[in-house]
């Protein structure tokens, strides 16, 4: 137990990793009920092709929710951007890259519009984005005349494409193998540099085995992912959209955790008055959080258009609820101030795996809806219950810990095992 604490950071029993364990249990359950189908490379690749847009939305939604707001317009904004991008290529014959830049610009404009109302006029985000949902859905249907607009193959790569194959025939996708190797190298270098930096600043350095085991786990996960993405049918590999998602996750994880802006988002959501009296501009934070959400909605919309080869009038219907569900399953608090990028990604994966696994089992989609609804309810009820018992939020806590695993922060906490033992009530929250 002591070793685990050292490994994963302060005050944790293994039970705090419940969310990750839940994910593993869900995978194991479907692995048995679908005869291993769920972990077939083809299925894993499809899972990402099919659900990445929700995870991309969840990245922005978690920041909105941490800041104490909500965004109901993301589905309509995604559809609005999608139709403009599709039109720009099919009607005005713009090249794909120009269409993508246009899409991002439109997303930013829409975001500025919504941010303006939330931050400066102080209309509650619920209302602003409910209005946005209606406005941009209508705008989508006017621009597209309520019909589907097809998109060219050159563009569809961003939603449905893979990285190209090259080099000798290894029975695996060489590009995927390369990305896997680079990731593993990066993990090792980051850990080594963290240790070196601590040594240089004369901070305590955790035992070597801690670094080895921790990095080892992450390397193993990377290897499995590399195999799953790389061992699919010829012509497939890691989907472009999964790479987009991965890069965005790293960027937003970094923003929320390591930048001043990220701190300010948590501060405003946790206690806006205290934040303002500490010199944080709540207006600026609210504006950028809302604006950023619409930019990510634009990304999600464009990716989805690529995946379905066309932009349609009903694209994005109900996406806001999928994204919000992912964030709350991932341990965010309705009242704001609590939530993490990694938690939301895992929450999104749980929801996506449920849909995917139940479909593989041949359960009809109506029932899938019910089960997903119940999972959301139970996951949040469990969190509320554990908070009402005076314990820290289990889901929130475990996500924080998860996030800390690959940074140097946890080693900071790991220096204090003795004092944690002095606080027995904080050790075993289970």
């Amino acid at each position: 137990m002591n070793n685990l604490k050292l490994l994963f950071g302060k005050g944790n029993s293994i039970g705090q990793y419940g969310m990750i364990i839940a994910l593993v249990v869900i995978v194991a359950f479907f692995w048995f009920t679908t005869g291993g189908l769920i972990l077939e490379p083809t299925n894993v690749i499809n899972l990402f092709l099919q659900y990445s847009y929700i995870l991309i939305l969840a990245l922005g939604m978690v920041m909105v929710i941490i800041a104490g707001h909500i965004d109901l317009s993301v589905g309509s904004v995604a559809a609005f951007v999608g139709i403009i991008v599709a039109q720009s290529m099919s009607v005005w014959h713009w090249p794909a890259w120009a269409a993508i830049i246009l899409g991002l610009a439109v997303g930013a404009l829409v975001g500025a519009w919504q941010g303006f109302w939330v931050a400066f006029v102080r209309v509650p985000a619920f209302i602003v984005t409910l209005a946005g949902q209606l406005i941009f859905r209508g705008a989508n249907q006017i621009i597209g005349q309520s019909t589907s607009v097809p998109t060219p193959d050159s563009y569809n790569t961003i939603g449905a494409g893979y990285i190209p194959d090259f080099g000798p025939n290894t029975n695996y996708s060489n590009g995927t193998l390369l990305i896997g190797l680079v990731t593993i190298a990066a993990l090792i270098i980051i850990e080594a540099r963290g240790r070196a930096r601590r040594r240089k600043m004369q901070a305590e350095v955790p035992p070597l085995w801690v670094s080895i085991v921790r990095t080892g786990i992450l390397v193993a996960v990377t290897l499995v992912a590399t195999y799953l993405f790389g061992a699919g049918p010829v012509g497939t590999s890691i989907p472009i959209v999964a790479i987009i998602l991965g890069v965005l996750t790293i960027i937003y994880g970094f923003i929320t955790k390591n930048t001043i802006f990220g701190r300010q988002v948590y501060a405003v959501g946790g206690n806006a008055s205290a934040a303002v009296l500490s010199g944080v501009s709540a207006r600026k934070v609210n504006f950028f959080v809302m604006a950023n959400m619409s930019v990510l909605a634009a990304v999600a919309g464009m990716v989805f258009v690529g995946y379905s080869n066309a932009s349609g009038p009903a694209d994005g219907t109900g996406w806001e609820l999928d994204a919000i569900a992912a964030v709350f399953v991932g341990g965010a608090a309705v009242a704001g101030g609590i939530g993490t990028i990694s938690g939301s990604i895992i929450g999104g994966l749980v929801m996506a795996l449920l849909s995917n696994g139940l479909q593989l089992m041949g359960i009809e989609s109506n029932k899938v809806q019910i089960i997903r609804g119940l999972v959301l309810l139970v996951a949040v009820a469990f969190d509320v219950y554990s908070k009402s018992q005076g314990r820290p939020s289990l889901i929130g806590g475990m996500m924080r810990q998860f996030q800390r695993k690959d940074t140097e922060q946890n080693t900071v906490a790991a220096q204090q095992p003795q004092s944690i033992q002095d606080q027995p009530e904080k050790v075993n929250t289970q």
Binding site: T259, R263, A267, G270, A274, S278, T407, E408, V412, Q416
Partner: protein
């Protein structure tokens, strides 16, 4: 309103032999770590107005909460006898049924509802949950007449003034058939006219046999209407004075309120005071909602390097309002005045500018305004000056940890690791985190608003030491406190504030509790204002 005759409509009971209506015997109430009331006794005779006086935090409100059932039977020791019977209230509802109604300082009216709806909230006339609005209207008119209010009962509460709202509260109490009315600072938010009308009404009720307990800081009002005065200090009954018999005047009450000697509760210090470097001139601020009220009336004051300047004033006098408006105009609407630092006027229109100009503000309410309770000690420590440990907007987490550790050791904050959530810490340790946060911004002038509120004695002593240390480093300290001993023990100079105006500027060696209390309770000057 003030001229309307008061018709309470109750038949006058004969008060030949004033019998005791309420007797509270040996009431002791403890909160974790604090003994708020210790062996307090209170006797109120039928048909009298009984005042309770004491400093902020003496235990007056706690005693009234015990009486009205806010703290239910079993959470306190001692017994309460009302109209000859021992009572054991489980909640406010029960005490109201017995005829004890408390009117809190913050009025419990719903602004969006009409006078009638508010009057009968929780006691709606009617059957099976269906309200009989006709009888409610008639009853409302009757009740309003008894408190001398002639407004239309359909008026929304938010569109009548605070004075009238207070009357509606009393009408509501009359509807509940009140026998003992408790008023907590009833005139704190009222202007002179409305106050006088309210006091007349209370005297009128007394003539109709309704007893009142009144808590007030305004000693002239107490002297005017009270029959008896019980003085509470540090959770203990000090004395009960009969206003007519004992020849009570304001000075007599003040002596009872502050009567303790100053113990050696403060670390030794030899002040090293430099030149004046911070000055506020003609500072005028309007109430954020009520444009007819000024919360700062052209205040002038200055602070020297290395000086601890105390601000004394009773609750609602405008100390916090002054401090927050100086700290980046965080309170009210600024109407005029300037801040001069190191001989130059500085522009402080928002908190960022205030921090840049070296002003720090430790708020009086650390949970609501000082800390994000969801955050860790580490993150809270650096929250007000993230730039200092960041490059290109990226926070250096190792540096952050080192800073947090440094302040944890410096202030001896008791916390297992700086990764702990501040929400889990005790009040004293939370306050140390807030102090760390502002010390990290390296301010030249640090405003401390009630820095030891809700903190145990040991932690207080440590915080006093920190304050003195900061002054010794040449910072100017503005100390706002409701505890006179604390102000007298720490300050080099003390300003008093009364109703938004600075009424005195006293060097510490010329200040004593009585002089201060006099300038805090009236506009007459206790000393020349420099």
């Amino acid at each position: 309103m003030a001229s309307t005759p008061i018709e309470t409509g109750l038949e006058t009971r004969s008060i030949t032999a004033p019998e005791t209506i309420l007797e509270m015997r040996s009431i002791t109430k403890e909160f974790p770590g604090v003994k708020a009331l210790s062996d307090v006794s209170l006797n109120v005779r039928a048909g009298e107005i009984h005042a309770i006086c004491g400093e902020n935090g003496a235990g007056k409100s706690t005693l009234m909460k015990v009486l009205s059932g806010v703290y239910p039977y079993g959470t306190y020791d001692g017994e309460i006898v009302f109209e000859g019977e021992e009572i054991r209230f489980k909640d406010i509802k029960q005490s109201e049924q017995a005829g004890i109604v408390i009117i809190h300082q913050e009025l419990a009216l719903i602004p969006e509802l009409s006078i009638t709806e508010n009057l009968f909230l929780g006691n709606e006339p009617g059957k099976f949950g269906v309200i009989d609005w006709t009888s409610a209207q008639l009853r409302a008119q009757d009740l309003l007449a008894r408190v001398g209010l002639s407004d239309d009962p359909d008026t929304q509460i938010k569109s009548i003034g605070v004075g009238k709202q207070q009357l509606v509260e009393i009408a509501k109490a009359l509807h509940k058939d009140v026998k003992l009315l408790i008023l907590d600072e009833p005139t704190a938010a009222l202007n002179e006219n409305d106050s006088q009308h309210l006091l007349d009404l209370i005297v009128g009720l007394k003539a109709k046999g309704i007893s009142s307990i009144i808590i007030s800081h305004k000693l002239n009002e107490i002297e005017q209407i009270a029959d008896e005065i019980t003085i509470i200090r540090d959770g203990k009954t000090i004395e009960t004075l009969n206003v007519k018999g004992d020849g009570v005047n304001e000075d007599r009450i003040i002596r009872g309120m502050v009567g303790r000697s100053l113990e050696s509760r403060f670390p030794d210090r030899t002040p090293k005071i430099g030149e004046t470097f911070f000055e506020v001139r003609d500072w005028t601020v309007q109430h954020p909602l009520d444009s007819s009220r000024l919360v700062c009336k052209g205040s002038n004051f200055h602070v020297k390097r290395g000086e601890i300047v105390g601000f004394a004033g009773l609750m609602g006098a405008g100390r916090t309002e002054l401090a927050m408006s100086i700290f980046g105009r965080s309170y009210g609407t600024w109407l005029g005045g300037e801040i001069i630092k190191d001989g130059r006027p500085i522009e402080v229109k928002n908190v960022q500018q205030a921090i840049e100009h070296g002003i720090g503000y430790v708020s009086e309410d650390r949970k609501a305004l000082g800390l994000n309770l969801l955050d860790t000690v580490k993150r809270s420590t650096v929250a007000a000056d993230l730039q200092k440990i960041s490059k290109g907007g990226v926070v250096d987490s190792l540096e952050e940890y080192n800073v947090a550790e440094k302040y944890r050791k410096l202030l001896r904050t008791k916390v297992p690791t700086v990764e702990e959530n501040v929400g889990k810490l005790s009040g004293g340790n939370q306050q140390k985190v807030v102090l760390s946060k502002w010390m990290f911004t390296d301010p030249d002038i640090l405003i401390l608003d009630e820095p030891t509120r809700g903190i145990d004695v040991g932690a207080k002593f440590e915080i006093y030491g920190i304050i003195q240390q900061l002054a010794a480093e040449g910072k100017g300290i503005i100390l706002i406190s409701s505890e006179l001993p604390e102000l007298l023990g720490l300050s080099d100079r003390i300003y008093t504030i009364f109703e938004g105006a600075i009424t005195a500027d006293l060097p510490a060696d010329q200040a004593d509790p009585e002089t201060l209390m006099r300038s805090m309770t009236s506009a007459r000057k206790g000393a020349t204002v420099s």
